[in-house]
């Protein structure tokens, strides 16, 4: 059963890489700025999941902290970018 689990991990890794490629395409061709922000949001989410799958694959728990930090800072970045798109400034005087 471990081999089948290995194939499933491989499948999820391929899916995540394809998802990141799709997000990259949307990041480049996105017609408006909010599309690019959305593509950035999807990219950090996929990168975080890719790190978690890497942790499953290498049977290690060390990747968890990095994934947590990526989730935290990705949220902050998306929030700041969306706020900037709406108001033209991130921190209001």
């Amino acid at each position: 059963m471990n081999e089948v689990f290995g194939y499933a991990v491989w499948f999820v890794q391929v899916c995540l890489v394809v998802a990141m490629l799709n997000a990259t395409v949307r990041l480049f061709i996105g017609p408006a700025a909010q599309d690019r922000v959305l593509a950035f949001d999807a990219m950090y989410l996929n990168g975080m999941l890719l790190l978690l799958v890497l942790g499953i694959r290498s049977r290690s728990t060390a990747y968890f902290d990095i994934a947590l930090l990526i989730a935290l800072f990705g949220f902050l970045g998306t929030m700041a970018l969306a706020r900037f798109l709406m108001r033209g400034e991130v921190i209001e005087p």
């Binding site: 689990f5 899916c15 998802a19 909010q34 996929n46 978690l52 935290l72 949220f75």
Partner: protein, 118 residues
């Protein structure tokens, strides 16, 4: 590479395949939907279905490695659960405001200081 017990691999395989399909569906939606407001649904699918599957499998796997129940991944799940709607709402507000400002030649109808329409 140590071998994992059966109570990890069988639910893990099912969850990983399900999560991979959800992730692919979300990214295809992000790529192929026609306008921004429908494109917003794609990453939400990834953040709910795909992330839940991968986080549950990671929790099972780390519990099997450590030999005791591990709930560390619930922190990431909680964080995603809280932050995903917030980012969706903020991006939606920005898109509505920008569309309105682009379509009208008058000064924008929403007050940029508060983000609400006057």
């Amino acid at each position: 590479m140590e071998t994992l017990p059966l109570w990890v691999t069988i639910p893990g395989t099912v969850l990983l395949v399900f999560g991979g399909v959800m992730i692919l569906a979300g990214s295809l939606g992000l790529l192929r939907f026609p306008d921004f407001f429908s494109r917003l649904h794609g990453p939400a699918t990834t953040a709910t279905g795909g992330a839940a599957a991968v986080l549950l499998t990671s929790m099972l796997c780390s519990a099997a490695i450590a030999g005791r129940p591990m709930f560390h991944e619930l922190v990431i799940a909680l964080l995603l659960l809280v932050t995903t709607p917030v980012t969706s709402i903020v991006m939606l507000q920005a898109a509505v405001y920008r569309n309105r400002a682009r379509l009208s030649h008058d000064p924008p109808a929403a007050d940029p200081r508060t983000g609400r329409s006057t």
